[in-house]
Structure formats: C-alpha cells, structure tokens
Amino acid sequence: MARIVGIDLGTTNSLVAYMKDGQPCVVPDRNGRTMVPSVVALTDNGLIVGDSAKEHLTRNPERTVYSVKRFMGKGLADVQDELVYFPYHITETGGVIRIRLGQKSYSPPQVSAMILKELKLRAEASLGESITKAVITVPAYFNDSQRQATKDAGLIAGLEVLRIINEPTAASLAYGLQQKTQGTIAVYDFGGGTFDISILKLKDGIFEVLATSGDTHLGGDDLDRVLVDLFIGDIRDRYGIDVDRYPDHMQTVRLEAERAKIRLSDELKTEITIELPEDKGRFTRELTRDQLEFLVAGIIERTLAPCRIALKDAGLTPKGIDEVVLVGGSTRMPLVRQQVEALFGKQPHCHLNPDEVVALGAAVQADILSGGTTDMLLLDVTPLSLGIETMGGVMSSLIRRNTTIPASAKEMFTTYVDGQTGVDIHILQGERELVKDNRSLAQFRLKVPPLPAGVPRIEVTFLIDANGILNVTATDMRTAKSQSIEVKPSYGLSDTEVERMIEDSFKFAAEDVTARKLIEARLDAEALIKTTDKSLVDAGHLITEEDADGIRTSLSQLSIAKNGTDPRVIRAHMAELEQTAKHLNVLMLDHSLKKSLHGKKVSEVS
C-alpha cells in the first residue's frame, strides 16, 4: 500500500509527518524547520505559502490570508463579530465564505488546500515518492460541516483523505506510543484558534475516548486581540491615530502583540515598539506578565467550563485523571499551566513537543490504517449530539454527544396526509432544545410512495462514520428497497463545486493522479447512471420486475459511491451495475437495432 502521511492542518501552523521504522517523525524543510505557517499570500509571482507568505502579512495585508481554519465550514453570519480583525476581504456565496485574493475568490477549503499542497510537496521532496493519501487532523469539537470542509480541502489538494482524526486524540496516540502507560488521561489542546479537551482511557493498546468538549472559537488569536485592543487604545490616546484604519499597521500591531505575549511566557517584563502610520514616529510601551495575565485571565478561564463538562460526561472527577497532557502553542503560557494544574490538581505532563505531537499522532494513525501498527486502536466519539427537526421547531436527538463512533441510529418515518409524496428532513447538530439554537447540517426530501396517511414506512439510517462525518441512507420497509438521498449541506460546498475546484486546482499545480482518477470515475459513473436509467425507461418492460429491482439497487448504490472519495470504489460499483444490467443492455441493443432497422430497406442494412 502506498504511503499515508499524517497532517496537522493548524490554524497557525501546519505540519506533515510519517512513520519511519516504527517511530513517527515530522518532515522538516531545507532549513530544518518543521512548522509551515498556515499563511497564503498572493504576490506578483503567484500564490505562495508558509514562511515566505508570512513575510507578506505586513507588506501586503489585503492579499495575505492567515487563520483560514476559523472560516472552515462557516457562513458569514457566524464570523461577523471578528471580521474587523481580518485585513483581507471576506464575503459569502451560497452559504460558504469566500476570500478575495486579487481578481479571484477562494473558499476556505481552497485556501487550506494550498497549505496542504505545500505539505504534500515537502513530504514528496523529502521522501522522494509521490504522496496521494493522508490522515488529516481537526479539532475534536469540529462539527460535521467543518469536518466535511477539511475533507474537501484534501480532495482539492489532490489528497485522498483516508481519515479525519481529532487533534487531541492524535496527540494521545503519540503520547501513548512514547509513554506506554495505562490509565485515564486528559488532553488539553489550546492552540491558535481552537480549544479542545478530551478524556481518554488507555488500556492494552486501546485508546478509548470517554468524553470530549471544547470551543472552536477560542485560542491564542483571542489572547492577541486583547493586546491589540490595548495597543490601539494607547495609540489613539497618545497620538490621536486610529490604527485600525491602516491594514498594514494593524497587521504589525497584531504581530507585535503576539510576539510580546510569547516573550512573556519566559520573561516577566517586555518592551513593545510599533512604527506608526503617517510618519508619526514610534509607539513604545512596557508590558509585564502580570498585566498580560490580568487582561487574558477571563479568556483562559473559558477553557475550564468545557473541561468540567467533559469530566462530568466521562463520569469522572479530577481525581480520576492520572495524567494531563498539554498540546498546542498556547499551553506554553505559565497562566494556562497554572489554571490546568489548579483544575485537575496535578502538574501537567509537558515532555512532549506541543507543536509536533498532533502531527506525530496523525502519522501513527496513518500507520494503523496502512496495516503497519496493529496493536493500537483509537475509539473516538462524536463531540456533538445529532438530531432532526420535529414538530414545533424542536430538535429530537438521535445520537447523543460522546457516543463512540462509528455510531448509527435508525428512525422510521411515515406520512400524515393521504397521498403525501415527500417528507422533508432537517438534520441538526448541537445540545440545545430548539432547532434555531443548534447547527443546521443539511436538509433533504425523503421520497414516499403516495399512499393513505400513516401507511408508508421509510426507515432512515443516520450513520456517523469513523471520521465523525454523517452518512444518510433510506429504505422503504414495505418493499425493502433502498433510496438514494441527495443531502444538501447547509454550510459547505456542493459536490459539483468541489469538483470544479479540483479542476481549477489542476490548472495551477502539477497533475495529481488520484484526484484526477476520482473526477474521471465520477464522470464515467454519471454517464453510466444516465444510460442505464434510459435503458430502464426504454426497455424495462422487457425484463422481469426482479431484475429491474436489482438494477435499481445497483444504481442507487453507485449514486452513493459516486459521492465517495475512492475512485476504485466507484469503479467497483460501476462494474457491479454493468453486470446486473448486462441482460437489459443486450435487450436494449436488440430493441434499438430493431427500431432502427424498422423502415430501412434490407439492402441498406447488409
């Protein structure tokens, strides 16, 4: 099996790792740096990614995208409050955020794909082979749309995403490999844009997640903003300048704020210097660790509530946790460590490199999938409850949060009006009572045969797979026939849009065999579905009902497979359909031959 790499696609930094002689290792660049800043810039020479793009943050703020992960799987309304902090142009089309770079607009998955491609190239250069498969990590508290967006990003980058895994659980794999301990651990992951807490039980190579919680909008970025606001206020008071009107200077202020915050993790006092716009000279001030801690204490405290919820959901008290593992750059802050220590009543484990541990764990998971590592197994959970809208705008829960995945629930639907031909189903994710307070995932219409009210019995299966991504199928219980469902995501790219983006990405980058194969397989599958549908209409009367049913089943299976990401799976289902429809096609051929012979002279035929 081709090599699978593990990728940590972070808000601030991204890394790629692989398994070498039973040990995971991160791929460095030529200069030995392992982290690729998650920054994309449009320059006169085209799009650039990583360290070189980071330099454009202040030089070219409107054309330099950072922290794009905050926008994955979101609509504009979700991020309205923080738009002021971003100097690049953000809009929305079709429920998906778009980022303007020069003449073109890009969805967050497209921007993330650029970062992924950079990592892919880096791994290819280091390993001397082509890389087409990856495990990508996401914050544990990511919802379905955010996971799907990450998968789309992989696809656009020409990577087959074999698994989406949660960042804290990935970290636990790397930790477990190193420590060989048993017991209950809490992984506290505080990075640049997100916060996660996961509680796991480690026993005999099984990593069982007991509970997870978090906040996908809480990270080091938020700490920086407190300092940014402080500096802006100072500058306004002292110089009468509104820095937020100058995007390049805003970027400088943000970077200086972050640097000061980082310095204060090691020092008690630091000096800040910022060049002012309009040649107004320099702004300088001093900041102490105490002052910083006073300002950000409230934000850091916001990480504690999810910790308590996770403990409660796991049925544990802090005493029941054997070890607390710290992950993410923001856990280097002394105040964070103090808070964690106070909550759990023990000193956290900090012997792992918090920057690399997630990528290393992703590489371990990749090795499990390729059959290399066989003694470890991760049993993860779904972070949010899944449900559907019922009468009165209330959410009825089908799969509770912290249920081990894969998880499935079946629900029977019927009609309440005679002759009703459809039931609209609205899928939601969240913990609240009312539909409007939860996240809308998707909507679809269940087709129902027109019968008296209450007679139809359509069973819908909601399956959350090992990626934490939802799959929906329906079966008519009266005929035992399955029905293909066109689920329309509420936030996210449609399949056709992803396909177009994949095609677009080919225009820019070198060819990528897997993704192209997938597009081709999908196109071929569509063509086959079309011709078979037509044959059924034209010649369906020539075959038995049983054969026709068989063909319909294969057809719907292919339509489902077509939405998957593995071209081989699509090809296999195509072969199956061709097999079941063989007889029909022969008849069809005869039929159309006869039809075309009709009215022609014998001499014209022979």
Binding site: L369, L378, P406, A407, F413, L463, M477, A480, A572
Partner: protein, 250 residues
C-alpha cells in the same frame, strides 16, 4: 410544499422489525458467506475466504457481545469483550480491504458500539432486556407514581413559587432550601428503587440459571418482568424530576 417529519416511536433504534423479505435475506447472509457463498461456521469470518461477515440484524446485543441474557454482568468482562470485538470489526483495520468488507466493518462496528453502550449501563441494560422479553416499547410515565403523587404535586407548587420569586430574597433562599431538601429526599428514593432493582436483577439471573420450564417458573418470570417494568418507569420519572430540580436551583 414541505411537511414536518412525523417520526414513529419504535421499540429500539436498532430493532425495527425488518420486512419479511429482508429477514430471510439476512438469515441467509449469516449462514452463507456473502462473498464465496460457502457455509459460515466461524463466528465472524468465513472459514474459506476469511472475509468478515455482517452481524445479522436479528442478533440481539447480548448475543452480539457474547453474553447470556443476564442482568448482573461483570463490567470488566464486558469491556474486555468490547475491546476484543472492536479489534475485530473496527474500520481502521479494513482500509486495505475491499469496499464491501469496509461497508460491513463499518456497520458491524456501529452495532457493536450501540450494543456496548446499551449493556454497559445497568438501567439501559434492564430496559433493553425488558423490551426483548416482552417485545414492547419502554413505557414513559407522564404522571407521578401513586405513592409519590401528593409529594410531587407539592413539589411542583414550590418549584413554581421559586421560579416566580426573587432569587436573592429571603423567600427565594427559603424556597431554595426546601427544594434542596426535597431533591435529596428524591435522590434517596431513587437509590432505594435502584436497590430494589438490583434485587430483581439477581432474581432474574437466578431464575435463568435454574433454567426450569415449569409453570411456577413462568409465573416468577412474569412477576420479575412486571415489577422491573414498574420500577424502571418510576425511577426514570423520579430521575427526570431530580435532574430538573438540580438544573433549576443550580
């Protein structure tokens, strides 16, 4: 035109009655390998082609986890079995296999997870066994059990009063204290019910172990199931009230 969905309450998420045709197919699937059509005698894999076999939809959660229909299960053993079967079915180990095998592994793992979740918790386990044995939906109590009727009505009034009162007033504090005492009393009541349930669980297991088919045994079986049903639904009722109370005065 849109319709609001109208879900039907079923006995269990996983246990919807299969269509007669599907039932036949599924049973066939269990005794015959879906891949090489040879007879399957092994537990989860075909002896001949070594392909993973789908867990039949007919299989109940006890059978799925390889436990008899008992109510006092050793949690350690249950967990060990769950881990063992997870290693057998988890999709992580089927990434290099065919698409069909991947699909089977995914649905088997989902069934296994539901089975473990249900049996791990003694209350859910009993509710599930009750549904299996009596074939009926868990009944959800909407009015208080007789011996609690007066108490619950009073409690309801106090709750209303508390909700309407100023939290920081003297009255608020007094009502809060009353509710707290009431909550503790109900929690003790719940614990009492759980103790009674544990006794019934033991009775059930003893009866099953004896395995007698006498009419006396049948009467005893019905008694246990009936008492268990009543206790379970009363306990759920009280539990909901306790949770409500806790949330209100938190």
């Amino acid at each position: 035109m849109g319709y609001t969905p109208c879900p039907l309450l079923l006995m269990d998420n996983q246990q919807s009655p299969p269509h007669p045709d599907t039932r036949r197919q599924l049973q066939m699937a269990r005794s015959m390998c879906w891949h090489c059509q040879s007879e399957v005698t092994g537990e989860y894999f075909c002896d001949r082609c070594v392909k993973v076999q789908p867990v039949s939809k007919e299989t109940d959660y006890f059978t799925c986890l390889g436990f008899p229909r008992r109510l006092m299960l050793d949690p350690q053993k249950l967990e060990a079995k769950f881990y063992e079967l997870s290693r057998t079915f988890h999709p992580d180990f089927y990434q290099t296999k065919s698409a069909d095998e991947q699909t089977i592994s995914l649905s088997n793992a989902a069934v296994l997870n539901t089975a473990y979740r249900t049996l791990r918790d003694s209350i859910q386990r009993a509710e599930y066994l009750l549904a299996l044995e009596t074939g009926s939906v868990k009944d959800i109590r909407t009015s208080p059990p007789a011996d609690l009727f007066e108490e619950i009505l009073d409690l309801q009034d106090t709750l209303e009063e508390y909700r309407a009162s100023e939290r920081d007033s003297e009255q608020g504090h007094r009502l809060r204290a009353t509710l707290q005492t009431e909550q503790e009393a109900l929690e003790r009541r719940k614990e009492g019910m759980e103790a009674q349930l544990r006794q019934l669980f033991a009775d059930w297991d003893k009866l099953q172990d004896a395995g007698e088919a006498t009419s006396l045994a049948r009467v005893e079986r019905d008694r246990i199931l009936k008492q268990m049903r009543d206790l379970l639904s009363n306990r759920t009722y009280v539990n909901n009230i306790v949770n409500d109370l806790a949330a209100t005065i938190a």
